[in-house]
Symmetry: C2
Subunit: 311 residues, 2 copies
Amino acid sequence: MQYAGGVDVGGTHTKIGLVARDGRILAQARLEPDPRGAFEELAATIAEGLRRLHREAGGRLSAIGIGNPGYTDRHTGLTVGGAFNVPCLHGNSLATWMGARFALPARADNDGTCAAAAELAWGAGRGRLNFLLITIGTGIGGGLVLDGRVMRGARGFAGEAGHFCVQPGGLECVCGARGCLEQYASAGAILRRYQDLRRRRGLTVDPGQPPAGVLAAAAGGEALALQAAGEAARAIAQLFGSAANLLNLDACIVGGGLSHSGDLLLRLVREAMPDYTLPLLAENLQILPAELRNDAGLLGAAALAWEVLAS
Amino acid sequence: MQYAGGVDVGGTHTKIGLVARDGRILAQARLEPDPRGAFEELAATIAEGLRRLHREAGGRLSAIGIGNPGYTDRHTGLTVGGAFNVPCLHGNSLATWMGARFALPARADNDGTCAAAAELAWGAGRGRLNFLLITIGTGIGGGLVLDGRVMRGARGFAGEAGHFCVQPGGLECVCGARGCLEQYASAGAILRRYQDLRRRRGLTVDPGQPPAGVLAAAAGGEALALQAAGEAARAIAQLFGSAANLLNLDACIVGGGLSHSGDLLLRLVREAMPDYTLPLLAENLQILPAELRNDAGLLGAAALAWEVLAS
């Protein structure tokens, strides 16, 4: 049987797996290379893990896809920045390294772009030709599909939805700019806003509360939680509406950790959309949850490998 | 000699022409069909004009491209809305009509998208693979090129830059939403803002002043004109930066009537870009004036025809 290798490189661990053309995960493993260690060690640990899976599974490994944080140049394959949790990637190309080691086609890309490729192949994007996916977690990432193709832009850095300006002159962002979506709608931003609202009213704040708890409280009707969620939803709707006006999308898809917390956030986004979208461009536009969940990162990496094989 | 027919349908007049593959206009004419009259009459006037040009020029007419205001469905060819100045287009397809009359490939598209196609073929977009073009005039239109292809989106309505939200909850727009770019950076918006600033200070206002006059005054150092131009430039930079973050563009191009008024506006846009663009995505991003000027509309329509022939 033919399959692709997927490598989902993260700050705390790296997931690897073998994935069939139809998206079935035939085998997977969780590795814990030291992300602050040397690049060669990270790469060798991943290669060894993939070899082992491949040996155990039998069949034919046809290509390797790698999803990683940060910016990976589409022409050189080098990760040139932004991979703060896996700094050893910077200046290196895991794709070139794996390709040489396995003598196979290999490509690496930003994890948001990989997530869009996976939703296109096996998830909420199936049969859709034009969509923007955002992943909401600690930060906000994204990926874009237009005319049925995963888009990368000039150097491969397309999809940076987290730094889309939703509020000129607004909250300061780690990127140096102001008013970035990430400051209004990431998991941390929603929690921070909710806790701010409570503190101003002299209410207690649970320092260990997970961001999903705010959405749960909002779904239960708690006014301040609903306000925090509603503000985040408006910011997301502003991105989606602006992108829909500019790109004439079929769908906007929300993935990432926070998208697993019920459908309240999406309902609030849908309600806010008319304020940011031209009526004709809103007509056939759907706001959907991502379908791939826990294995989204691994499937994203594998989808990239299958994209390489199909091209 | 082989050439394409271009038809630039406008509210006050319609320009037609014969355009060679290299962008040379071999012949052109200005027609004045009644835009509020019947569709059949508009179409017949244009067809007659094209026939005459073709007869006089000799050579081979190979395809017809039509640029029109409003939304033209890429699948049905029908103009489905937005062509307020040429209402007889609604519900009709000038492309189907011309294609049948001339027995030639014919396609119609939004004039902003046509303008992007023309800059890609013969203007500031030559050799560039990823750019957003906006045209600033009475309103703001736009067109998008990604991976070297003119993008149209799900139904062909992509490029609606004028209704990109730059100020949530901001100025009311004719589209029903608030804070649209068009309300901050169209020719009329710049003039209105300048005159408001003057009125509030008890200064006289010239009711007949053309919008370009505000840019000229700003270039001359007049503080209030500079403020109006600067605010418009910031709004444009917000669109450009957001689009660059999302799409990883090589260039953002400014066309339309107001782009012929010196380089002040573009300089102000360039100055504001860092506030809205991730540094890595700003690195190779150029802010450029459109190169095609008076004949931009006609060349846009012809570029569409050549695109059809190449596909």
